[in-house]
């Protein structure tokens, strides 16, 4: 990680403070919780402890990324910007979760920014150290791959769900918002948090779209009565210019007079 990119004030804790504590922390992360202690010990020298205060920026979208972060305590949000420059929150990550692992493998710039939602403790692992470990320990590589596969599988599930629901929304069928409860989405322990979050947001969106549609349906139409006055005048003149009409008008007048006399 490029130090120049890191926002101040960030507090640094020396590496040698408590190796045992670091190992315990690594065991709580999703990436390394299956690794034996002897492997974790080899990582100790490459681990940097860092700390963020609330609202502090860890990195920005587009920054060069050469390290992976694992959250010890606290929460961060993964953010990007929309076309108008407003901040959009893509996800929230908490204890045990890894951030920035994508850049670690593909060496592309950071795909999103990270901002602390609370005070956060992090374990930073440099790319070189990780790659070296994977080189020496194929079993560790397998674990890392397994972790990434699991995430991909989770992503596929929610993409499938999103496609299914998108089709229904396009057809104006919102019945799934009644059939599915929000808690059903959140209780699926095999789903990754990000997937749950996505599904939950998607679900909210569908509900809002439905509410908006129903409101529109109820909205009454205000008619504006439009009369072509020139045409009105012309038609009236055409109808009343005949001899028949003049005669009729005269007769009607007489008839009314006769009838009102009799009353």
């Amino acid at each position: 990680m490029n130090l120049a990119n890191r926002a101040n004030p960030m507090m640094w804790i020396p590496n040698n403070m408590a190796d045992e504590t670091t190992i315990q922390q690594l065991k709580k992360t999703f990436l390394f919780n299956g690794l034996p202690d002897d492997v974790l010990v080899t990582l100790l020298d490459s681990i940097v402890h860092c700390r963020l205060s609330k609202d502090e920026i860890l990195f920005r979208k587009g920054d060069a990324g050469d390290s992976l972060f694992m959250i010890g305590e606290g929460w961060v949000k993964i953010v990007t910007e929309d076309a108008l420059g407003s901040q959009l929150t893509l996800n929230q990550c908490g204890p045990g979760e890894a951030i920035g692992e994508m850049s670690l493998f593909d060496q592309a710039p950071r795909s999103a920014g990270v901002v602390a939602l609370s005070d956060v403790t992090l374990l930073e692992l440099k790319r070189d150290a990780l790659l070296q470990l994977l080189d020496q320990r194929p079993d560790v590589a397998l674990l890392v791959i397994r972790g990434i596969s699991s995430r991909l599988r989770g992503s596929t599930t929610y993409i499938e769900k999103a496609i299914e629901w998108s089709k229904k929304i396009a057809e104006g069928d919102f019945s799934f918002t009644e059939q599915t409860q929000s808690r059903d989405l959140l209780s699926d322990a095999t789903q990754e948090d990000r997937a749950k979050q996505f599904l939950s947001e998607f679900f909210k969106m569908a509900r809002n779209v439905r509410a908006r549609e129903e409101k529109l349906k109820q909205q009454v139409e205000k008619l504006t009565l439009q009369i072509d006055e020139a045409r009105r005048k012309q038609e009236f003149e055409e109808l009343t210019s005949s001899d028949f009409y003049a005669n009729l008008k005269e007769q009607a007048k007489k008839l009314r007079e006769q009838r009102s006399d009799k009353k």
Partner: protein, 260 residues
Amino acid sequence: MGKIVSIHSFRGGTGKSNTTANLAAQVALRDKRVGVVDTDIQSPGIHVLFGLDEKKMGRTINDYLHGKCSIGEVAFSVGEFAADSDGRSQLAGKKLWLFPSSIKGRDISQILREGYDVNKLNEGLQTLMKELNLDYLFIDTHPGLNEETLLSIAISDILLLILRPDNQDFQGTAVTVDIARSLDVPNLLLLVNKAVPGKYDYDDLKAQVEKLYGAPLTSILPLNFEIADNASKDLFSLRFPDHEWSKGLRQVAEAVLSIP
């Protein structure tokens, strides 16, 4: 003297015959002496609502206009013969007479070909007002503004104009209103029919219509698919008195009855 009430719309399909028949029935239910004349000679239809078919139909307005009978002979007493359906049976014993137009193609084509003397129609209407001592004579007119329509407007004490909430009807109604004023029709009433329920702000619509035409809007009746299903066979407002359409129609009847 009784009152002649013409029911008219600038365009067809406004539900004019249905409204006329139900209106006449509502007024007859209040023990008024009521006549209904079908002057829509080109496309008669109101007889069906009163339970009259080709077999039962005797003399017609066409016969009268061609000098084959007196106007009195055309009368079909609905109160005596129309106990054949749930709605109409309520009219048993009421003083309600229908003066139908012929539904025979030959008669219709003859009158279209030869025309008729509108003065004779006028004489007939005046005669039956007197002879039957009618309180109200409802005239179901042909849409548009041809000679017999102009006549029925000219002789009206009350002209009820039916329109749907669309700009073509608003335009045509404006011309009809001008004609009615030019012919000194003493009472002009408006009725909006076939309004899609919930689609419009009714108060706003009423205010605009009344401002545009300078006449009271008696009611806004909902578009009613049940009418299409049932009412060709029966009088809807009698058969389904609690339906919104029927409630609205009774308001129109009240408006007609309240004119002194």
